[in-house]
């Protein structure tokens, strides 16, 4: 299976294929997308920085722990880094479960844990090229 940290557009189709099975009654996909306006300010893109080896390790650990939850059959998480234009996906969480409640819940836990635990940082890139980091004040400390 591929890297959890990727550059360039993410392939949802690949994740859906990689998690295919015959026992799941639910497939839930969460896509985190770059908004064109954030807090009333125009955003052309988000530029993501990453500690790649640590992020790969943490995402795989999150996947492993989510698959251990009752009723969850598979989980794949990928996060895009670098320049991600407005309207495109920066992260996918794909979960298959026996039934929809546990699949929905697992997908929610997946994205919440990504936002809290994975060493990734983003900056707003505005249409005039100016930048504003999001990690100052609003991020989650790893300490």
């Amino acid at each position: 299976m591929g890297n959890r940290i990727q550059e360039g557009p993410l392939s949802l189709e690949t994740l859906v294929q990689e998690t295919e099975g015959v026992d799941d009654g639910a497939l839930v996909v969460f896509s985190g997308n770059v908004r064109a306006v954030d807090g009333g300010v125009e955003v052309a893109a988000l530029d993501y920085d990453v500690h790649r080896p640590m992020a790969e390790q943490v995402i795989r650990r999150i996947e492993d722990e989510i698959v251990k939850l009752d009723g969850v059959l598979s989980c794949r998480i990928v996060h895009r880094i670098g320049y991600v234009p407005a309207g495109e996906s920066s992260v996918y969480i794909v979960v298959r479960g026996r039934h929809r409640p546990e699949a929905f819940e697992a997908a929610r836990e997946g994205i919440e844990r990504v936002k809290r635990e994975v060493p990734i940082w983003k900056e707003d890139v505005h249409p005039d090229g100016s930048r504003r980091p999001r990690s100052s004040g609003s991020g989650t400390p790893l300490v």
Partner: protein, 82 residues
């Protein structure tokens, strides 16, 4: 001992680049010694140190952990993925 520190997120701008070399006085420095050295040598980073984690390779370190001279040391501000 000289320690190469890799900065991430908004700390890159404050540190003036991805990597800075910091001089730590102790011969067997701990994370707390590195924090003090960073605050002394890169004052722009000092206000952000309390909320920044120190990594060695792929592990996060507590303040009393010893630094290995051959390991890659990183300073990680609050995360904001997704």
């Amino acid at each position: 001992m000289k320690v190469e520190v890799y900065f991430y997120g908004n700390l890159i701008h404050l540190a003036g680049g991805r990597v800075r070399t910091v001089r730590v006085e102790e011969s067997a420095p701990r994370v707390s010694d590195l924090r003090a050295a960073i605050a002394r040598e890169i004052p722009e980073i000092a206000p952000h140190l309390r909320q920044a984690a120190v990594g060695m390779g792929t592990e996060l370190l507590s303040d009393d952990a010893l630094l290995r001279p051959d390991a890659e040391i990183s300073l990680l501000p609050p995360v904001s993925g997704g």
